[in-house]
């Protein structure tokens, strides 16, 4: 009891009360500030930390020192008869009362008092989806500089996926700069005016994040996966590299070698891509889809720093990009971060349109690639639609029926029943401009590409004439629908899918139409798509085999 009485006498309890009330007020103030202006995400934690550390310090101080008319003295040294602790206590009481009144006024009278809204514009709320099929918590926003941002909160795991789509790819290239889009993807990791080469990655990884990027014929996509705690850091370094990239750098030459190494392992030492690259280049005579995305070797050796600077300004402008963020975030905090970090980046003139339209193919095209090979390869490509063409979804279903799995037609006939090929796979371009539909077949040693091609043409003719059964169509729908749900079961899959539809279909909401769109496709649509696309005149055939294999025949 003696200690308690002494605690009271030395005003320690009153200091504790004052500290609590003051902390409450400070906490309210931080909360109020946060909802009005963007402060770093760690501000709140930091304030708590300071207040928490300060609490025992304040108590200890109150216990140890005493206010006297002569100033601050150690309590033990003060003559008890001269002590004015009672007066100090009164002052403390008054301070508590004043703070309490202020606090009550502030908290309860908040709406009556002037707020920060006069000084700082509020965070935009973004647009809610129009369709009721779309998850209601998705929001989209277009900044004044044209940068579009879509946010889909998902609090399942404490992580975030951020996809940054840049509308630049192989189709924006021409002879001399083929592969530049992909090389630029590498340059985006090599330093800015603020970060040394490698610092973008070391900052991200030290904050618990990881990233990757890919380049296609249409787009370059930058992906970040990180814990929620790294949100502010990621916005800072992403905004930095989209604004302050250094395109003249010592790393330029060595990175050229890195890309060349990538090309050698993916293409030059890999028969599949060695052939696929040649088929692509043969199927197009005019449109830039003919260029290999990684670039022809002579161009890899020859890009200049000026090429890079021009590319950056034109294609990496905010009005040519779309960002998708999914995961453990709120739309409010993302739009606030976007306003702070991305809004200051100026818009640029839109990139030049791709004017060239691939002319109608006038007859079948054939190429042979000679390479050391135990197993010959046969690739067949047909001109088809773009991502937004009406026949693209029927074609996706059709390809699934033909080669989408163990029970697919071509797998059953050519692989299982006739033992003609080791595997058959398909791929459909779904880009901005009309692309190709491919069939990739791997033959057993000694297999005859002519025999396989003849059987393929027979099967394709059959589907173009007789179409598919309702059971086959239902199966393909189910497979695509299950893939759709599987894709949406991760934050990464959500970001990828939303971005794909926003960029290639012009509206992310159309992603959620897929179940209905699949149901609306008829067997006739599939037959019509087959008849339109699978024509010999529309076909490019490529064969890879040992040198001299043809003469042996």
């Amino acid at each position: 009891m003696a200690i308690f009485a002494e605690l009271r006498r030395r005003n320690v309890l009153k200091v504790a009360l004052l500290y609590a009330v003051a902390s409450w007020l400070i906490d309210w103030f931080v909360g109020a500030i946060q909802s009005e202006v963007t402060v770093p995400v760690w501000t709140e934690t930091f304030v708590y930390f300071v207040l928490a550390v300060g609490f025992p310090v304040a108590l200890l101080f109150a216990w140890t020192y005493e206010i006297t008319p002569a100033g601050l003295k150690k309590a033990a040294d003060v003559d008890q008869t001269q002590s004015i602790v009672f007066k100090t206590g009164q002052k403390l009481n008054a301070a508590v009362a004043v703070l309490l009144v202020l606090g009550v006024l502030a908290v309860f009278g908040q709406r009556l008092l002037p707020t920060f809204e006069f000084l700082v514009p509020g965070v935009p709320e973004g647009d809610a989806p129009m369709s009721s099929r779309v998850p209601a918590d998705i929001r989209s926003l277009t900044l004044d500089n044209g940068l579009r941002i879509i946010v889909w909160p998902d609090h399942d795991i404490p992580n975030v996926a951020m996809y940054n789509f840049v509308r630049a790819g192989g189709r924006n290239e021409y002879p001399g700069i083929t592969g530049l889009s992909h090389f630029f993807e590498h340059m985006m990791f090599l330093g800015t005016e603020n970060l040394a080469p490698g610092e973008f990655d070391s900052t991200m990884e030290a904050a618990g994040g990881a990233n990757n990027a890919y380049t296609s014929a249409d787009v370059t996509v930058y992906m970040d996966w990180f814990p929620r705690s790294a949100l502010e850091t990621i916005f800072e370094i992403e905004a930095d590299r989209f604004q302050n990239l250094v395109t003249v750098t010592d790393s330029f030459q060595s990175e050229r070698e890195v890309v060349y190494s990538e090309r050698r392992s993916r293409i030059d030492d890999n028969n599949f891509w060695k052939l696929a690259e040649q088929v692509q280049a043969t199927a197009f005579v005019a449109h830039p889809y003919q260029f290999t995305v990684i670039g022809w070797p002579s161009d890899i050796e020859a890009w200049t720093e000026e090429d890079l600077a021009r590319y950056y300004q034109t294609y990496y402008a905010p009005n040519n990009r779309t960002i998708v963020i999914t995961g453990d975030v709120t739309t409010g905090e993302i739009f606030a971060l976007a306003e702070k970090h991305f809004a200051p980046i100026p818009a640029q003139d839109p990139p030049p349109a791709i004017r060239t339209v691939e002319p109608e193919q006038l007859g079948e095209r054939r190429i042979v690639v000679e390479a050391s090979a135990q197993t010959p390869l046969l690739h067949m490509a047909f001109h088809a639609g773009s991502a937004s063409s009406a026949e693209t979804l029927p074609m996706r279903l059709l390809l699934n029926i033909l080669a989408g799995g163990e029970s697919a037609r071509l797998h059953r006939s050519l692989v299982e029943d006739e033992d003609l090929v080791l595997s058959v796979d398909t791929y459909q371009d779904e880009g901005f401009d009309p692309g190709l539909v491919f069939f990739f077949l791997t033959l057993p040693p000694g297999g005859d590409p002519d025999v396989v091609e003849a059987r393929m043409l027979e099967e394709l003719r059959r589907v173009a004439e007789d179409g598919v059964s309702e059971a086959e169509l239902a199966k393909a729908r189910n497979i695509i629908l299950a893939d759709f749900w599987r894709g949406l079961s991760t934050i990464n899959g959500k970001a990828a899918a939303i971005g794909q539809y926003e960029v290639f279909h012009g509206n992310y909401e159309s992603l959620f139409n897929l179940p209905d769109a699949l149901a609306a496709v008829t067997a006739d649509d599939l037959r019509n798509a087959a008849a339109e696309v699978f024509r010999r005149k529309n076909m490019t055939v490529g064969v890879l085999q040992e040198p001299g294999a043809e003469e042996v025949e």
Partner: protein, 465 residues
């Protein structure tokens, strides 16, 4: 957060004396059922999307392949899909595809695994197919021969393609030799050709059975009802006839030896440099993961930084740990254009020597910890991932603490322990096994400096001399 909550938090912080964020991942509670015949079910309800993830594991795997018949367990796994119960191969595939499901079997070193995903409305079909695959496979002789011959040719096709996936296969084969861990899981051209239908059906009764089956399900279903139907389906199944073989711990390799795999016309040399490493039960898993993250497990790792970012020698460089039930392997993998083969390998070796001597700074260790913890949650995000994790833990005899305590172990690892684990696990540069795949004629003389060379052509029908 309400004002009150924040205030409470404030004072909680006060008494904790600091801020500690829990950063680990905790496995959810599961229904764990063990039947009398030894079958184990692990069931977890997760109802966010209408999907069910399934993973069934039969312990055993490639280490149970008879001598000279590598690929037998893998071939059997694939054959389980080629007809079962009343369905032949075509009808079985049709049944899975018709509902948009997936169900596929494969083998690895120590297990046959059947993984699948179905819409929850098709749960009954899924159980029926799984039961048939395991208990009533057709094991049709014609299907077996077709599959075996195709497998042989697919290995030839792989040898015509990207060399990167092949190099670790040569690596394990050359490092472990006749030890079961040297088995090429999918076999080689020679071993597959020797496998007969009799081998296959014998293997099925000897090594597939209830006593070594684990089934994990996660997703949108009722656990009690699911446990009942699984019990009906598997309660009477027979055990396997042979015990699982004991695998001895492989011996660490002394000195150096080099396997040169000749791929004429290759533009690059692809290398694998390693030795015997540690098992899944290695006690300092967290420290080792931190070390490997920093050495060659992420983009800013030492190997990538030096070989790729600074020197431009390669597109990729990694250090890879394989941790089976006994000591597996630890290896550096990378590649470079033919005329920088020696430069790149020398650099990789100097980095190995460097980490053994200097370890990593405390700053780097902190960065590595954050990276591991930050990248962990997405690995256990979906029902299928959870099912896989439950089944694997059970198969290895590990409990949930393997996951639950991992975050704290990573966060709490000391710099000193990380440094000491490096000298324990990463081999000294004098004791290394090298595999170099490239155009032998152009590099044969130069790579002789790394150790005595054994050379084989890529077309030879096996992965070691």
């Amino acid at each position: 957060m309400s004002q009150l909550h924040r205030l409470c938090l404030l004072f909680i912080c006060c008494f904790c004396g600091g801020l500690a964020f829990s950063q680990g991942v905790t496995l959810p509670d599961v229904h764990h059922v063990e039947l009398e015949n030894g079958v184990v079910f692990i069931l977890h309800e997760k109802r966010d999307v209408p999907l069910i993830g399934i993973e069934a594991i039969i312990r055993g795997g490639a280490v149970t392949d008879p001598a000279g018949k590598a690929g037998l367990s893998s071939l059997l796994a694939s054959l389980l899909e080629k007809g079962a119960g009343d369905r032949d191969a075509a009808t079985f595939a049709e049944a899975v595809d018709a509902v948009g499901g997936s169900l596929s079997a494969s083998a690895d070193l120590e297990a046959i695994t059947i993984s699948g995903e179905f819409l929850s409305r098709d749960a009954e079909l899924m159980i029926e197919l799984l039961t048939d695959m395991l208990q009533r496979p057709a094991l049709n002789a014609a299907e077996m021969k077709k599959l075996r011959d195709r497998r042989i040719n697919l290995i030839r096709a792989a040898k015509d393609s990207d060399p990167r996936p092949l190099v670790p296969v040569y690596g394990s084969a050359f490092l472990f030799g006749e030890h079961p861990y040297g088995t090429a899981v999918d076999g080689n051209e020679e071993s597959l050709a020797k496998i007969t239908h009799r081998d296959l059906s014998g293997y099925y009764s000897d090594f597939v059975g209830a006593d070594r089956l684990i089934i994990a399900l996660a997703g949108d279903f009722d656990a009690a009802a699911m446990a009942d139907s699984l019990t009906v389906a598997f309660g009477d199944w027979r055990p396997a006839e042979q015990p699982l073989p004991e695998v001895e711990a492989p011996a660490t390799q002394e000195a150096r030896r080099v396997l040169l795999v000749d791929k004429p016309g290759a533009t690059q040399s692809y290398f694998w440099i390693g030795n015997v490493g540690v098992s899944i039960n290695f006690p300092q898993r967290a420290e080792l993961d931190i070390a490997n993250t920093l050495f060659g497990g992420r983009f800013t790792s030492l190997l990538v930084d030096e070989l790729r970012t600074k020197a431009g020698l390669t597109y990729s460089a990694r250090s890879i740990l394989l941790r089976p039930a006994r000591a597996g392997s630890v290896a550096i993998v990378s590649y470079t254009k033919t005329d920088t083969t020696v430069v790149a390998i020398d650099l990789a070796l100097s980095l190995l020597a460097k980490i053994r001597e200097e370890g990593f700074s405390d700053d780097m260790i902190l960065s590595g910890k954050n990276y591991i913890l930050g990248q962990y949650p997405p690995q256990l995000e979906t029902a299928a991932q959870l099912a896989g994790q439950f089944a694997e833990l059970e198969a290895l005899g590990l409990d949930a603490s393997f996951i639950d305590d991992y975050g704290a172990a990573v966060a709490g690892a000391s710099g000193e322990d990380v440094r000491s684990v490096i000298t324990d696990v990463y081999p000294p540069v004098d004791n290394l096994v090298f595999v170099i795949l490239g155009d032998a004629e152009l590099i044969r003389e130069d790579v002789a400096k790394f150790g005595p060379i054994t050379e084989i052509a890529i077309t030879e029908p096996r992965f070691r001399p």
